[in-house]
C-alpha cells in the first residue's frame, strides 16, 4: 500500500470519516491504511480462510463508507463499530460453514519465516480454532474471539456486544470451556502430545 503523506497524522478516525463524508477521498485512503489491516486480521483470526476473511474485510469497509454520512459523532468509536461489524459478519459465515474446509483455503501465517512443517501445523491449529468457534453459540464465539484473539478488555467487549461486563465475563468463561472441550479431540492432531 502506498503510504499517504502525514496529512491526517494524529487525526482521530472519526474526523477522517467525517472528512470522507464531506467529499475528501484522501481521508478514505488514510482510513483504509489505518483500519483495513486490523479488520482483515480480526476476520482472519476468526475464519482462518483467507478468501473469506478478505470478503468480510471488504464488506466491513464498504459498510463503513455507507455509514459515513449518517455517522453520529461521539456515540461510538469507529474501531468499536468495526469490531462489531466484523464480528457479526464472521459469525454469519461460521454459522453457514460448519462443514469441512479444504486445507488449501487456509490462510497463510505471515509472522516470521517458520518452516513448512511449522506453517502447516499453525494453519491446522488456526483452522481447528475457527471450526471450534463455529461450533460455539454465536455470542460466546464473539466474546471469546474479542477477548482472546483480539486481546480486548471486558468493558470494550461489552460496548462492542452491547451488553454489560458481567455478561461478557460469563460468555467468555463458558465459551472458553466449551472451546477447550471441542478441541480436546484434536489435541494430538494439532501437535500437542499427551504427557
Amino acid at each position: 500500500m502506498n503510504a499517504m503523506p502525514d496529512l491526517f497524522a494524529g487525526a482521530p478516525d472519526e474526523a477522517l470519516l467525517i472528512a470522507f463524508a464531506n467529499g475528501d477521498a484522501q481521508a478514505a485512503q488514510a482510513l483504509t491504511e489505518r483500519l483495513l489491516p486490523r479488520v482483515l486480521a480480526q476476520a482472519t483470526r476468526m475464519l482462518a480462510i483467507q478468501a473469506e476473511a478478505e470478503e468480510v474485510a471488504q464488506e466491513a469497509m464498504i459498510r463503513l463508507w455507507k455509514q459515513a454520512p449518517d455517522w453520529r459523532q461521539g456515540e461510538a468509536q469507529v474501531s468499536t463499530w468495526l469490531y462489531r461489524v466484523v464480528s457479526n459478519l464472521c459469525t454469519d459465515i461460521l454459522r453457514k460453514r460448519r462443514g469441512g474446509v479444504s486445507l488449501d483455503q487456509i490462510a497463510e501465517p505471515t509472522d516470521g519465516a517458520p518452516s513448512v512443517v511449522q506453517k502447516m501445523q499453525t494453519n491446522a491449529r488456526m483452522q481447528a480454532l475457527s471450526d471450534a468457534l463455529a461450533a460455539l453459540p454465536e455470542r460466546q464465539a464473539q466474546a471469546v474471539s474479542l477477548r482472546h484473539l483480539e486481546g480486548l478488555s471486558n468493558p470494550e467487549i461489552a460496548e462492542i456486544m452491547d451488553t454489560n461486563v458481567r455478561s461478557v465475563e460469563s460468555l467468555t468463561a463458558r465459551g472458553k470451556r466449551a472451546l477447550a472441550a471441542i478441541m480436546a479431540g484434536r489435541k494430538a492432531e494439532l501437535g500437542y502430545d499427551d504427557d
Binding site: 500500500m1 482472519t44 488456526m126 480454532l129 472458553k176 477447550a180 499427551d194
Partner: protein, 118 residues
C-alpha cells in the same frame, strides 16, 4: 491418560498463535475497498405526511394569516347582516337601489357649525 479438555496452557498457546496472525492486505483487496469509497450521499429523509387540513392551512399562510382572514370574514358577514348607518347606502346600491352619495357633503363637514357659529 484419558483425553479430556485442552489444558489452559495449550489453549493459551493457540490463542497466542492466532493473535500473531497479521495478514497484510493485498493490493487487490485495497483496490476493492477503495473502489467502494465513493463519497456517499446522505439519504434524504421522507417528508412527514401532512393532513389535507394542514396542507390548506399552509397554503393560506399558516395560523396567523388564517386568523386575520377569519376576522375579516366575520366582520364582512356582520356588516352584511346589520349594516351600520354609514354604509347603508352602499348596501342599497349593491342590492339595486340607486342613490347619490356626496363625499364632500357640507352637512357632514359642517354639521356642528362650530367653525362658523363661534
Amino acid at each position: 491418560m484419558m483425553m479430556t479438555d485442552l489444558n489452559d496452557d495449550i489453549l493459551e498457546d493457540i490463542f497466542a498463535q492466532a493473535r500473531a496472525v497479521a495478514p497484510v492486505p493485498s493490493d487487490d483487496l485495497i483496490a476493492r475497498v477503495m473502489a467502494g469509497a465513493t463519497v456517499p450521499q446522505a439519504v434524504p429523509q421522507p417528508a412527514p405526511r401532512r393532513s389535507l387540513g394542514q396542507q390548506v392551512l399552509d397554503l393560506l399562510g399558516g395560523w396567523t394569516a388564517v386568523s386575520g382572514l377569519v376576522t375579516a370574514t366575520c366582520a364582512g358577514v356582520w356588516i352584511g347582516v346589520a349594516p351600520p348607518a354609514s354604509v347603508e347606502n352602499y348596501t342599497a346600491t349593491y342590492f339595486g337601489d340607486e342613490i347619490n352619495v356626496s363625499i364632500f357633503s357640507e352637512d357632514a363637514i359642517f354639521a356642528t357649525g362650530d367653525f362658523f357659529d363661534g
